[in-house]
Symmetry: C2
Subunit: 242 residues, 2 copies
DNA sequence: CAAAGGCATTGACCGAAATCAAGGCATTGG
DNA sequence: CCAATGCCTTGATTTCGGTCAATGCCTTTG
């Protein structure tokens, strides 16, 4: 199943007005008149975890705002080794403007709801609206910075630092308003241990051991394998390798 | 020393006409009239290896086309561990459009010649010329793809695969026209062993050992520590982990 | 030329993370 | 209720790459 289907169904303008309230999404870049036109050809959908949104072989035929949930972007080696190269949180924009030859996969990590637009419409809007292209450039620059930040983590941090950095990154993305002064926060992990391992360039076992370590050292609590409470953001940050 | 100085000196229009012939640079995106205007405020300069072009603390005040040589982009952890997060080859564009909070350093890896433009002029041109912004978006998307490709290398490849991948990447960037059918090529390494280690998330010693291994296995020859001849691109590719 | 310094190679040893293996704890379904 | 399955944890052992240390170039400089 792909995002493509149902994209030409009747639109839900309310949906896009909700997008507009968000800053990094597509709609926020458009003026209200354009928005109404675009809303008519948009469609909202909910995706189950594990469903592939962008496949290697297939051309991406739509663009979407991520309204809720987390999408993981992965790349694989021929023997099956896998690396997560990015996570898209709401309200990120999903889908490449202009075709790129690179092999990349997008898959719902959690349940995901999307607001999708057909490729042709978005490309027309880009041509007509410099503001939208400006918005895309800014998001792309942000993603580039995030990617480079993770290159440091992948290349130069220890397993313990990687896991601490990961938890901090998730906390900040789940709650962007997280006050740097507060010392505690709590969230649902959007990834399984296997996903975390693929994100950090580690094995499942190492991830598990490092989480156990943080737990027995009293920096975090974990319930039901997924719900994490950070009890000392400061101590966690001090273990993240700066 | 920074790129900033001399930026307001009298321009060298010929320089920018030479930029225009290249595809990924700034000038290629502009129409001839704009080009002449921009050329008047551009300046060409040559930078020695090791000179810092963009520093952490300092705001980037100019944008440049890399005319020749290689610039390395690095990020560091507080204890000094370093990671190279990107390499800019000619005719790449160097310098961030819009300020970004991220701490990144740019440094000449080899002797580098640049064609620089003052920040304000470029930003004005971006506002006036959607085509330039389009060009910037495309380059940024390319850099994002490259970064993600290296994330796979950093997170999931062995030391041997990393070094093989590195040599292939350099070969392709030094000679973009490299025929996939040819089996041999030769080039000057733009990086020291220490730089290669920082690029691959390894130590100098491991890089040296892997190069020695490739040499004794007959895949490459090395003269003067820097000049590399790949005698079997196929065998090198087969060791790069796909 | 000799001394010094920068860069690279090589060897011996060590340790962090991978691998291999067993078992726990949910949820699902017969 | 009892398999069966998926996900996670924990332990024992191995290994790849890091660390420490010595040496070998070149190039530079007095």
């Amino acid at each position: 199943m792909t995002v493509r289907q149902d994209v030409h169904s009747v639109g839900i303008p309310v949906l896009c007005q909700s997008c507009e309230a968000r800053h990094r999404g597509v709609c926020g870049a458009l003026d209200p008149d354009q928005l109404v036109g675009l809303a008519k050809i948009s469609s909202k959908q909910t995706i189950e975890p594990g469903v592939e949104l962008i496949g290697d072989a297939e051309t991406v035929d739509s663009y979407s705002n991520v309204l809720s949930g987390v999408v993981k972007l992965t790349k694989s080696l021929s023997d099956g080794r896998q690396q997560i190269v990015g996570l898209q949180f709401a309200p990120d924009f999903l889908g490449r403007p202009f075709k790129v030859e690179s092999a990349i996969n997008a898959e719902a990590a959690t349940a995901v709801s999307l607001c999708s637009f057909p490729r042709a419409s978005i490309e027309r809007m880009i041509r007509e609206s410099p503001e939208l292209e400006h918005r895309l450039l800014k998001q792309t620059l942000n993603e580039l910075d995030e990617a480079r930040e993770w290159m440091v983590t992948l290349g130069r941090k220890t397993a313990a630092e990687k896991v601490a950095s990961f938890l901090l990154m998730i906390a900040r993305n789940i709650d962007p308003a997280l006050d740097p002064a507060t010392n505690t926060t709590s969230f649902e992990l959007p990834l399984t241990r296997a996903d975390i391992a693929d994100f950090l360039g580690l094995t499942i076992e190492t991830v598990s051991r490092q989480l156990t370590r943080l737990r027995t050292d009293g920096l975090i609590r974990i319930e039901n394998n997924r719900h994490v409470t950070v009890t000392s953001l400061k101590r966690l940050a001090s273990r993240s390798g700066a």
